[in-house]
Amino acid sequence: MHESSLEALLEAARSQPIAFDGLEIESAEDGFLFAVPGHARSGLDQEQLVEQVSRHPKYLSNWYVFTRPRAEPRTAFLRWIEGAEALEVPERYTRLRDGMSTRWGELLIGATVHDGQRRYDLRHVEEEATPRDRLDTYEDPLEARALAKQDPSGRYRPLKSAPTLQAGWVFPELAPDELTATVEQFYPASIENWYLEREDALDVSHWRETMERQTGIYGVVETWDRGDGYDHVNWVTEAMCDDSQCLKRRRWEYDEETTLDTDPGDGAFPCREPCSLMVSAARRWTRLEGEQPERYQLTLTPSEKAQLERLIEAVADDELDEIREADLRDGANRYRARYLRAKRLDAEGQLDVEPADPS
């Protein structure tokens, strides 16, 4: 048992009654009342109270860890990790002794308790079974910033919630506040927004209001909404919000009345409004979609048509690295693409097309 936690509990009990996860302590005229589920004593002097608390160290440590000064969303998050709202203290401590794990985006949070102290092992979800000594070890939450910056191939990640987190690292022994600080480096504001959603207080900003708010070079995006439906926003969310692209769960819609047709995703934490990457992308699409469609006449074999479709699919699903060098069956194979270019594109790289005859 830890002196500091016991002292903190006694001090707290002297100033107000304690009722926390089944632990109850009250100061009455005939002495203290102490109770945990299935066990109660009253009329205790301080020495007897200390003895009772000492016999129930799990309740003491549970009270202590969750009453440290900490922002409410972070406490709620730490409690959620170990199912504190559903599991009684003894059951929870038994499970924690063996280790409990939770996913958060691509993070795997492993929680344990030893001698009343919670410690967290934070790593990539794909490395649940990897021994610690095969991973690079980190301690400082701010070191997560560098890990979150680039994907496994070294490319810059402009979107922290993209499912492209690199692996190969572990924060093996984080204290509770270090855990929340580290999680926030990987997924900024995710704990706060998750908490607001739980409290039914998430400040969702839908597509229309978000775009109407934009000014400067982004002011133009508002004009993409021309009162002719919301298909374009369906396409944007299919392009950018799918779980294959972003692990947040979309909570915003076209507007308050109009829900989008795309899957909002299954992420643990919510997306409150179109992100800055989407606003930038929407600016580009606003310009591109201002063009009028034209009809083209273009000659392709059926296989070439299928190949164009396959090329779009392979780029959209980021499959290019997986296509084997000599797999000529795949239309997105590099040799196949080079052959098509040699045959169908001119020296400027343009398709040989003619405007279709007006019919």
Partner: protein, 302 residues
């Protein structure tokens, strides 16, 4: 389960939030912001030091909710006053009662304003950007000292302060001219000039604009990126192709050019952030003292 008898919820007394532009494309854009935040975090002047961005995460819209404190000093790591500091940042931070008049600025004299964030209810001390603080003149001069390795650099040297110019940001030129004038008034350098990327006098002409044989060129930019690492070195003739790199110093015609790269990467900029917060009432005197002592120890004459 019951959690009724929590201890009184804790609210640290003061937090610092550094807000910056960031980038979807350039991973180095946010580096100075993080570096200065880390250095201020190390002084313990604030209970929390947090960064927020326009193009990265946490976004301006969500940064304040990650801060526990009720009293938050927000310092923009921007080099001029204008569209971002006056319109975008206050709007996105939801400082609904913000009015630019509260800064009472002529374009280079922003102070601070006390406003409330409507989503979190926090008191925000919204400070002017680092770029127009008087101390920025010292940072520019420090840049000249570090690039030449001479803490007394000035005699026989010219100093050029580089900005975008008005085509891209109306107030950019104001900040450049302001610091150039202040440094000129200090009589430290033989010549001091403002030069621009897209208006006269142009950065392309640095080697002919100055009479001095040595010219230190300091771009008033937050981070190194396309402008400071590609456009400006090529425009000045330091290199034909930025991919080949350039020498410091480098001879262009008969002038020796000492090009410093973005002023925002100068460690001393952290002091300007602290001074912005101090001007708004933050108690950071011990931190400033500690930082200056550390800085003077690392910059002793060679």
């Amino acid at each position: 389960m019951a959690t009724e008898s929590k201890e009184a919820s804790h609210a640290p007394s003061q937090a610092l939030v550094i807000v910056a532009h960031g980038s979807h494309l350039n991973p180095d854009s946010s580096v100075p912001t993080f570096t200065h935040a880390d250095s201020i975090r190390g002084t313990d002047a604030f209970d929390e030091v947090v960064t927020g961005f326009w193009k990265e995460e946490p976004h301006f819209r969500e940064v304040l909710r990650t801060v526990d404190s009720d009293r938050v000093y927000v310092v923009p790591l921007f080099m001029s006053e204008g569209y971002f500091t006056e319109e975008v940042i206050p709007r996105e931070l939801r400082l609904d009662d913000w009015d630019v008049d509260a800064w009472d600025s002529d374009g280079t004299s922003a102070s601070f304003a006390s406003v409330t964030a409507s989503d979190t209810g926090q008191e925000v001390l919204y400070c002017g950007p680092v770029g127009t603080h008087d101390s920025m003149s010292r940072v520019i001069m420090r840049r000249a000292e570090t690039v030449t390795g001479d803490p007394t650099v000035g005699d026989g040297f010219g100093l050029a302060v580089v900005g975008h110019g008005t085509k891209r940001n109306e107030n950019s030129a104001k900040a450049i001219n302001y610091h150039a004038a202040r440094i000129e008034a200090s009589d430290r350098f033989d010549e001091v000039r403002s030069v621009f990327m897209d208006e006269d006098p142009e950065v392309d002409d640095v080697s002919t604009l100055f009479g001095c044989s040595d010219v230190v060129v300091v771009p008033l930019f937050v981070a190194d990126g396309f402008h400071t690492q590609e456009d400006i070195p090529e425009d000045m003739g330091l290199t034909e192709d930025h991919r080949d790199g350039y020498d410091v110093p480098a001879m262009v015609e008969d002038t020796r050019i000492w090009y410093t790269g973005a002023v925002g990467t100068e460690p001393m900029l952290a002091e300007v952030v602290l001074e912005r917060a101090a001007d708004a009432g933050a108690d950071v005197s011990a931190a400033l003292e500690a930082r200056r002592t550390a800085a003077s120890e690392t910059l002793s004459p060679r």
